[in-house]
Symmetry: C2
Subunit: 439 residues, 2 copies
């Protein structure tokens, strides 16, 4: 496609109408969205989207995890050389969340599939609406994609329990699912051409740099620790400055050390945050004796991560020694960063150009279902900007232009991949290789 | 008294027995003391002490605030030139508090009065057991002494309400008291010779410096403020270090600035503490957008206090500007430091010497009923060391030796003051003045 997709081609009114119909499911009276995984609101959204898909003539099914599969068959369906393309995102929300988050990615993929009407489509394309991407309900994120990728099973899901004591296992069973029966679906993804997810950035980079599209090369993994700072509680009036072992001033130094490491390694894609600071038995007239800090460090390179964590430990020891405190770090979780597929990213770049979309190669600091699809097939992901990077919040906002840009790119890349002939492509590559060798 | 009091003179077994009987009232099953003001346990302690006082032949009454007055008449009772000496402390505790706190001061004063048996006693001595020194129940401290000093009245007490909605006013009325009827008692204190309170230090200085007695020259006043730090909440993975307005890292700088000011001014008797740090909507994966800090600054000089507060404001502005945060300080309370009486302190010093008690002149960082007595009469106060400075906690501990030292000093000073002849003293002073002039 040399000229790109025009806004007129987007069937924008239908997109808006359908998006609005889905977005209002679970909306509370303060304008936030409560569509937690496997709840009635989530079910309702799945039902409505399935109905829209059937109306569009697509095939619809739910897998053992409750993920919704929407398939538009291509003319070469069944041809092993033309395996299907898979798209995906999620529709569940955090409590009092925003309208866009996962839903925008689902709706963009679904609408791009509808836009193929009348266009050539050799390859089959399947949209997977993953279940329970958010950790809010069961303290466990990306359940649907993890089950598909065998990073989770029914047994483990029994211990993921919501505040009412309902396990994720029971929630899936109640819907008629079976989290341990995903063999066929796993095989389908493993044999696919590749996987694409669109999402809002959830960070401020694209807007700050006035860029249309973020092409995600890595998904950073969080290393989380709890740091306990123990000093000696004392009377704020009666204990002189020189006699104190103040756990909170020690914790303040730790907070700044974490920030400083993040800043020092920011060119190496490290972000480091203290998100929680709890003073135990706090009172205005007590010198704090016990503070708990919760730290989240993310990066895309395991070695750099280890270096940062090592330096943090050195800082903790220094602060503990200087202030005569006990500072104990405890690992809460340690995940592995995921590198996404370069060839798939290149196909996105190729379609940005005719559409005159500016783009940046970037890292996703947040986790996504794409992380688990990347273990099964060649996966890529792209971002569109959201207002001030605000997400997981009812203030979440995305401009029409940003949505249209995402839709143009999704439709363009769909059209391109669905009609990408492996033989023709190989021939072209061979010609290019010979050309390079001859130079 | 040239030779001091011997331990044999202290009637130590009786002291221990009676202290234990009072200390166990309100004891909970974890070893802490729950004897909150005006509760049944507090009443029971008042009743038992009154019984002990009657057994000792002392006069007993409760005033309109519920303060217990125990009087031992001297042989010059009624002689205007020999006004009474007043002692005082409290018996109410914080929740799950320690055994000593106020009770040690009450018991030491009471027992010193008993030790006068058989000794000369011209001046009358009265012990006031103040009510509700602790702020725990009604969020209002030193109610009994404030009412006596007209720093509080019945009307204001109606708005001091406990967690069950009972006001301090109603609690006093229920006991048959009338917080607005204290004219006679106020007059009695105003006409007194002076006031002495003994208390545990509640800080580590005496133990650290291996000193027996702390003679309190000033009671520091707290200046309390709430500092609100506002930044922008963001996703801990998706928001790069350079794009953040992290309220918690800003708050960490404020915490260290408060500590730094305390250290810088510590030779000028300033202590500065951040006792509470609350991250609003905290989560491990959110860059904090809103933090509230609660600061307690104490000093003995109003001007130095203003200087410290002024410098803190400068620091807040600097941090806000550097980090692009909104930092708003709000005053919660601002009390006036109290200077105690030098002549009364000198009488304590005079009695430390023959008793071979080492002493330090010091500041009380904690508030005490003495603050309000100082507005009515010449007041002084002394401390005995407590283990590691721990107080308001069931781990509170005081050695027998420390208690005996306090008792020796209290008894010695009682004996001295009760027999101090104003005419003889004036003559001595006049002689000294002439002697100095002649030199």
């Amino acid at each position: 496609m040399k000229r790109g997709v025009s806004t007129e081609q987007l069937n924008w009114e239908q997109y808006q109408k359908d998006f609005a119909a889905l977005a209002e499911i679970g909306q509370n009276n303060t304008g936030g969205v409560d569509r937690l995984a496997y709840t009635e609101a989530d079910q309702q959204a799945h039902g409505l989207l399935a109905k829209m898909a059937e109306e569009a003539g697509f095939e619809v099914k739910w897998d053992g995890a409750g993920n919704l599969w929407i398939t538009r068959r291509g003319t070469d369906d069944g041809n092993e050389k033309m395996p299907p393309l898979i798209l995906g995102s999620h529709m569940d929300s955090v409590p009092d969340g925003g309208k866009y988050d996962g839903l925008l990615g689902v709706m963009t993929a679904f609408h791009a599939m509808r836009l193929l009407d009348g266009a050539p489509q050799r390859r089959t394309v399947t949209l997977i609406v993953f279940r329970c991407e958010e950790s809010s309900r069961f303290n466990c994120a990306t359940i649907g994609s993890k089950l598909l990728a065998e990073q989770l099973n029914g047994e483990k899901l029994k211990s993921c329990v919501d505040k009412d004591g309902i396990s994720a296992y029971d929630a899936i069973r109640e819907l008629g699912g079976n989290p341990d029966n995903l063999f066929q679906e796993r095989k389908y993804i493993k044999n696919a051409f590749g996987f694409i997810e669109m999402h809002i950035e959830q960070g401020p980079v694209l807007q700050e740099r006035n860029t249309d599209i973020g092409i995600v090369g890595h998904i950073a993994a969080p290393y989380r620790l709890k740091i306990t700072v123990e000093g000696t509680a004392a009377h704020s009036g009666a204990c002189p400055m020189g006699s104190r072992n103040d756990a909170l001033t020690g914790a303040a130094e730790v907070i700044l050390a974490v920030e400083n490491l993040g800043r020092q390694y920011s060119s190496q894609r490290i972000v480091a945050t203290v998100g929680k600071c709890d003073v135990i038995n706090e009172a205005i007239n007590i010198v704090p004796g016990h503070v708990e800090l919760f730290v989240d460090i993310r990066g895309i390179d395991k070695e750099i991560m280890s270096e940062v964590v090592g330096k943090l430990h050195e800082e903790l020891e220094r602060i503990a020694a200087e202030r005569k405190l006990r500072i104990e770090p405890a690992i809460l979780s340690q995940e592995t960063p995921v590198r996404l597929d370069d060839d798939m990213a290149e196909l996105l770049v190729e379609q940005c150009l005719p559409n005159r979309l500016t783009f940046l190669h970037m890292v996703s600091g947040a986790g996504h279902d794409t992380m688990y699809m990347a273990g099964l097939t060649r996966a890529t992901m792209f971002f569109v900007p959201c207002e001030k990077g605000i997400s997981h919040n009812k203030k979440e906002a995305v401009s029409d232009e940003a949505i249209q840009n995402g839709l143009k790119l999704m439709y363009s890349v769909l059209l391109r991949i669905c009609n990408l002939d492996p033989d023709v492509e190989k021939e072209k590559e061979e010609m290019e290789r010979r050309f390079m060798e001859a130079m």
